[in-house]
Amino acid sequence: MIQVNRRNSFSRIITLCAAFLLAFSSSLFAQIDAATGDADAGKALFKTQCAACHKLYKKATGPALYDVVQRYDEDYEWLGKWIRNSQALVKAGDARAVKVYEENGGQVMNPFPALTDADISNILAYTNTEKPEPIDPCIANPESCKGGGGGGGDGVSNEIILSILGLVLLLLVAVLFIVNNTLKKFAEAQGIEVEEKEGRKPIWKAFVENQFLVLVSVIFLLLGSAYFAYGWMSQVGVDQGYAPVQPIHYSHRIHAGDNEIDCKYCHSSARVSKHSGIPSLNVCMNCHKSISEVADATQAEGKSEYGVNYNDEIKKLYDAVGWDEATQSYTGETKPVEWVRIHNLPDFAYFNHSQHVSVAGVECQKCHGPVEEMEIMEQHSPLTMGWCINCHRDTNVKVEGNAYYEKIHEQLSKKYGVDKLTAAQMGGLECGKCHY
């Protein structure tokens, strides 16, 4: 008896609550409205939830979303249903839903049941944003389009100062000359004998006569030229700073720097192989499938700073990999990209990336320099044997947690009387370790 009573009261409470919630939520339902939405909040949501498949003004995996509210006659209820679970609509046979579904090649849109009405309003508000006029860097900042730019102003003032200085010096010379002449005239007029200098032996004659000096200077000359000849010959075949023009202008600055993509995301074989590997184009397409254009600011920067149209470079990638933007599909026609190899070790030297990257934990930048700042990739290090050896002499072997090193490190460090072994002490200077 008591139990029954309880159940009754409990169910009553639930019903009450449900009624309350329903009333509240239905009142919310009516609130999906782009006009009330906050476009800025919507932009943030759009970036996190929608941007993987949708763009505002352009078809991506899904259709372009600009103007979507108007296109569907401000039918917010339908839009809400579609966004929260499009497949339910399609399965229910909703004509518009089926049409959209089919127009986009049967791609299933992820359901977003967690989005609140307010969220959807915000997003829809954002989709109503007009397409901004392309930012012409020259309009936005006319200064930057002039050759020379701001720095030119300083240059002009420098020139003025310098020319004034020069003028002053010239005047000084002239004044001295005049003074000298005047003095001479005075001397003549007053009959004072001006002592003429006695003709001294020319310095070269004195030099030739001093055989010791000749000998010493010849030796110095020879040593000096040998030094410079050696220096010059040492750089034959050393291509430090080599930064060839690549078939596609690829900016490490944008990828590794601005976007902080890990080096080994693209150069994945550096972890396991001797080669770091140039990423195959399918790796590029992991991201560039949805990134067909760079941000406007980046584009402007590319044009002004580097004279590059990044969007055109992305088109080159699409062309090479055979990606048809219009249909969002691969055509199957590929044109492998012929990159110009920058780091060329001679064939008789064996270098293994994985040894350095995975085992030793060396940062890529240690050898390749600040790649994340390089707009155009260049050879940072000389890649000479001396450079290798210096590092092997200075660098300690990373032995922590590596069972391979346990025994040998313990024994060797005891033998050499050190706490930490360098790569050289481990045998990293032996010829055969790199030359076979």
Binding site: V340, N344, H353, V359, Y404, K415, C431
Partner: protein, 1022 residues
């Protein structure tokens, strides 16, 4: 006055002959062919280029060239568009596969780099298919052969596959007789497919043909056990092995028995197998035997009868003792004795099977399927073809126009066949006369399954996309059956239907199954046993010829492979040739012997000359050919030998067209022929032999050996004493630090690599030589360079003959020498010891860089290009070497090789390194050396470094067995063991502590990191 004197050079001049005047005016007696090097006059005159212009051009181009040389070349890197998941550039992948080219059958692992197969390894999961020989190791290069057929052709014109299919289908449906003439595939799926094909087209029949067949062994086995196959043998179980003319360490029965044999040859617990060999040619088996008796094939027959319980009457006098010993020891061994024979007649083969009936060594229940050909059916086919009754002939994996003794009859018959399709890898002798060539892929580009031994199926899988426009024979059959299935699907369903997990089988490369056992059927063809014509008759005197296959060339299928051409024969050490082997006595008899007194004229032996040989014409039953004569110690008197597989000319690069074709002498498919006549022919032949000193001259400490009895009873110091040296009138062992010139390095820390070589297990097969070639990019230098002793092999297998009947006899003779002259004088004595005995003992000794801890080469290098590593390896930095060759001169083992020329990308050495296709086989981890640098074995540094790096990356210790070299990986007989001696649990450490261990030339004090195990022979006191 003095000026009045006139000097004259001839009477004519004195007399003022006009001829002298003309000659004086004409500086060049012969007209100088200016046109030849200047071009014809007309062009010269019409040319606008003046001399000044020319000089300008020269100046400009020189300047431009030197300017251009200052800039480094621009290198392109082209990544994949879509990278295959399993390929990581720089990391090797291994795939299990199987070779089955009709002659060689083996389960292998294929090492690929960036999708290119570059090396063949043994598949350790396989049992019967385990043990790739030298040819299998070299087969990877045969794929990158630019002389392969590159697309379908008809009468020499390129056609499309559909053209071929239309032609074939028309014939198939015409109802005329169609014959498939194929190699032995030993493939369950292919057998099934051919059966279905024959079922669909009743006018089709199938004939299997092996170039070098085991006709008589197959016949005998078929009659006795009802399956056309070969008995299998496990020599590791044998205590007494008696071989009558069977080179079972060579290619007898398809080969592959050395691993089992070697197991029984290593003395364990005082026991090892005992091996009698009765043979005509000196073979690998004979060289390894404890008792070897040279007997002609006809005498072998009598010996086999005696072994089978017959009378001893026919046995020649010199063999009687050995035969009776063999009989009694066989009896004592009971089921652990085995008799094998290579005699070329059915009754003898049957006798051997009967003798072995109770032996544990033989396995007749699960026979080998690697041969199945029947020469009678082939001969019937040739008859039918000549009668004009064959409408179409489809050939796959065979080259009958080259390998048939009656090739001429075959060719005339082939001309009468309307459509002949050659499914072959190249436009070879047969394919070039066939109407159509339907090129097939190399096994590394194809699918397949192979039942090498009944109960074990090996899988062939492609490791690279087909290089050329080729189609597998099986795919062609399916196409002609109007099936849409590919052979891959067909094979997969065959396997799956047999209850085999296909993916696992492909992964492992081998699967055990009884699903494809051959049905036993009684052969009612009485012609087999009655066919006396097929067996050799030795009536009528004359020489007896034994044809054989060389370790390097086999049946000649891979004749265009420069690795194999340059591989030295294990016995004669000759490269790039085949020849008549003959005993010294017979050669003297026939005037074919070059005496040492002609050393500087005919029998040149010097470093620039190499060995010469006379030419002889041999005639067998009316067929004759001319070949050079190589005097072979151990050749039975009255017999000669000649290798098949040479003398190929069609679709073979000119450099590789070596030797003479001996197949025309293989009458009735028999490898032995009687009644051979030999006549001397004028002319000399130049051999390229890489070893000219044939004996040890009594230096028994180079190849140490002892008898089993002494090994079991005496102390190590008796049979394997460390040499001593005197210091302050005290004897010290040379290994003692007391007498060491060098300071000892500390090698106790880290890895210390040693290579152990067991001379008891080494059969001399040479698989390691080719494996080393493939792994280390060793160049091929060609015949004339080999003749100048400029061969580049990093690993050689020295072969020594004894000068007396045994090596112990040599040592004794040297010890007995006394003074310079006289009966025991050393002058005459050493002279005698240069010549091997008529039936010598043979020893094999693989020699590579010994990686001396106290290396003489390192101390003499003026630029420190060769130096020592802590891990025991002697490093060689090629880029540092300036080519003084001091190191090679100071090396006591003569293992250093000098690059006299640039061997890659050089038209003078037009081998695989000179074309883009051939270069695909190059191992990217090893430097390709240039001209003027020294090179040598690195102990496969790239492999040990790889093992270490993998362990570092995984953060683990290295287990024994992980370290390997190319040679130790290739060795299936266990003769080569590589590892870390600082790992006290390792196999190589145990071997280094063995009593049999010694170092080569230990007395020099080089302390090598390669050590040898004293050879123990199971001989009784003579």
């Amino acid at each position: 006055m003095s000026s009045n004197k006139k000097y004259w050079k001839s009477v004519d001049e004195l007399n003022g002959s006009p001829l002298v005047e003309t000659l004086r005016q004409n500086e060049f007696v012969e007209e100088i062919p200016t046109d030849e090097f200047l071009g014809d006059k007309e062009t010269l005159e019409t040319s606008q280029t003046t001399r000044r212009d020319f000089l300008k051009y020269v100046g400009f181009t020189t300047a431009a060239a030197s300017l251009a040389a200052c800039e480094g070349p621009v290198k392109k890197s082209i990544p994949y568009v879509v990278q295959p998941e399993q390929i990581v550039p720089g990391v090797a992948d291994y795939y299990a596969s199987t070779i089955a080219d009709g002659f060689d059958f083996a389960s292998v692992l294929v090492k690929t780099r960036e999708g290119r197969p570059i090396k063949i390894e043994n598949n350790k999961l396989a049992k019967a298919g385990y043990g790739a020989n030298a040819r299998v190791h070299a087969s990877v290069l045969s794929m990158y052969d630019q002389n392969r057929a590159q697309g379908p052709t008809a009468s020499g014109e390129a056609v499309s596959w559909s053209d071929i299919d239309t032609g074939v289908m028309a014939q198939l449906n015409s109802g005329k007789q169609v014959v498939l003439l194929t190699q032995t595939f030993a493939s369950p799926s292919t057998d099934k497919l051919i059966a279905e094909f024959v079922e669909k087209y009743p006018n089709v029949s199938h004939v299997a043909y092996d170039a070098v067949g085991e006709q008589f062994a197959l016949d005998a086995f078929e009659v006795k056990y009802g399956v056309r196959a070969l008995a299998d043998y496990d020599f590791s179980k044998a205590e007494v092995i008696v071989s009558v003319g069977a080179d079972f360490l060579g290619d007898w029965n398809g080969g592959g028995y050395d691993a089992g044999y070697a197991k029984g040859r290593i003395p364990t617990e005082g026991k090892m197998s005992r091996h009698f060999q009765f043979e005509a040619n000196m073979s690998l088996s004979g060289a390894n035997a404890d008792v070897r008796v040279p007997v002609t094939p006809s005498q072998q027959k009598a010996i086999l009868s005696a072994l089978a319980g017959g009378s001893m009457s026919g046995v020649p006098e010199h063999a009687k003792k050995a035969v009776s010993a063999a009989i009694s020891e066989l009896r004592a061994a009971g089921s652990k004795g085995i008799v094998v024979t290579g005699l070329q007649d059915v009754p003898s083969q049957t006798k051997a099977l009967e003798v072995n009936a109770n032996s544990e060594v033989i396995d007749v229940a699960a026979p080998r399927m690697t041969r199945s050909g029947d020469i009678r059916k082939v001969n019937q086919l040739i008859k039918d073809m000549n009668a004009g009754s064959v409408g179409m002939l489809v050939m796959a994996g065979v080259n009958p126009s080259y390998t048939l003794p009656n090739a001429a009859a075959f060719n005339t018959g082939l001309a009468k066949v309307a459509v002949s399709v050659a499914c072959s890898m190249r436009a070879d002798e047969t394919a070039s006369v066939a109407t159509h060539i339907a090129p097939v892929p190399h096994y590394l580009e194809a699918w397949g399954d192979v039942q090498i031994k009944q109960g074990e199926v090996s899988i062939t899988q492609p490791t690279i996309r087909p290089l050329f426009d080729t189609r597998q024979f099986q795919d062609s059959l399916l196409k002609w059956m109007e099936s849409d299935q590919s052979y891959y699907d067909y094979m997969k369903s065959t396997m799956t239907n047999a209850g085999i997990s296909f993916n696992k089988a492909v992964h492992d490369g081998v699967v055990m199954t009884d699903a494809f056992a051959k049905a036993v059927s009684t052969n009612t063809d009485t012609s087999i046993t009655e066919d006396a014509g097929a067996s050799t008759t030795f009536q009528g005197g004359g020489f007896e010829l034994t044809l054989y296959t060389k370790t390097s060339m086999g049946d000649g299928n891979q004749a265009n492979n420069p690795w194999l051409q340059e591989m030295p024969d294990p016995i004669t050490r000759a490269t790039w040739d085949n020849y008549i082997t003959m005993s010294e006595a017979d050669a003297k008899d026939k005037g074919l012997w070059l005496d040492r007194s002609t050393f500087f004229t005919e029998a040149r032996h010097d470093a620039n000359g190499g060995l010469n040989g006379t030419l002889a014409k041999i005639t067998v039953n009316g067929v004759s050919l001319i070949a050079p004569v190589m005097v072979q110690p151990g050749q039975a008197k009255g017999s000669i030998g000649l290798a098949v597989g040479y003398g190929r000319t069609t679709s073979i690069q000119e450099e590789m067209q070596t030797g003479v074709n001996a197949y025309p002498l293989m009458l009735n498919g028999s490898m032995t022929q009687g009644g051979v006549s030999i006549d001397k022919v004028d002319g000399m032949h130049e051999f390229a032999v890489i070893q000219l000193h044939n004996t040890l001259m009594g230096r028994g400490d180079i190849v140490k050996e002892t008898r089993l009895e002494i090994f079991n009873t005496k102390d190590k110091s008796f049979w394997n004493a460390v040499p001593t040296v005197s210091k302050d009138h005290q004897e010290y062992e040379v290994t003692s630090p007391e007498v060491d010139l060098w300071d000892e390095f500390d090698r106790s820390i880290g890895h210390h690599f040693n290579l152990g070589i067991d001379l008891n297990a080494c059969t001399g097969c040479g698989a390691c030589v080719i494996a080393c070639h493939a792994e280390n990019n060793v160049p091929v230098v060609g015949k004339s360079e080999v003749r100048r002793s400029r061969d580049m092999h990093w690993l050689r297998i020295d072969r020594y003959y004894s000068s007396n009947n045994t090596f112990a006899g040599d040592d004794q003779q040297k010890d007995d020498m006394d003074g310079l002259w006289g009966e025991n004088g050393s002058l005459g004595g050493f002279g005698e010891m240069e010549d091997p005995a008529a039936n010598p003992q043979v020893a094999f000794q693989p020699v590579m860089c010994q990686h001396c801890n106290h290396a003489p080469c390192e101390t003499v290098c003026p630029v420190a290009a060769t130096s020592h590593g802590r891990q025991g390896q002697n490093h060689m930095a090629y880029n540092r070497c300036v080519g003084t060759r001091y190191c090679a001169n100071n090396c006591p083992y003569k293992v250093r090789r000098f690059n006299w020329f640039l061997y890659n990308g050089n038209d003078e050495f037009d081998y695989y390194m000179n074309n883009d296709l051939g270069r695909m086989v190059i191992n990217p981890d090893v430097t390709v050396r240039s001209r003027g640098v020294m090179e040598k074995c690195s102990m496969c540094m790239q492999m040990t470094q790889k093992t270490i790096l993998d362990a570092k990356r995984d953060g683990r210790e290295i287990k024994d067995g992980e370290f390997a070299t190319a040679c130790s990986n290739a060795c299936t007989s266990g003769a080569l063991t590589f590892g870390d001696v600082n790992d006290k649990s390792s196999e190589v450490y145990h071997q280094s502590q063995d009593d049999r261990m010694y170092h080569l030339l230990e007395s020099v004090g080089t302390k090598p990191n390669v050590f040898y195990q004293t050879k123990v022979r199971n001989t009784k006191e003579a």
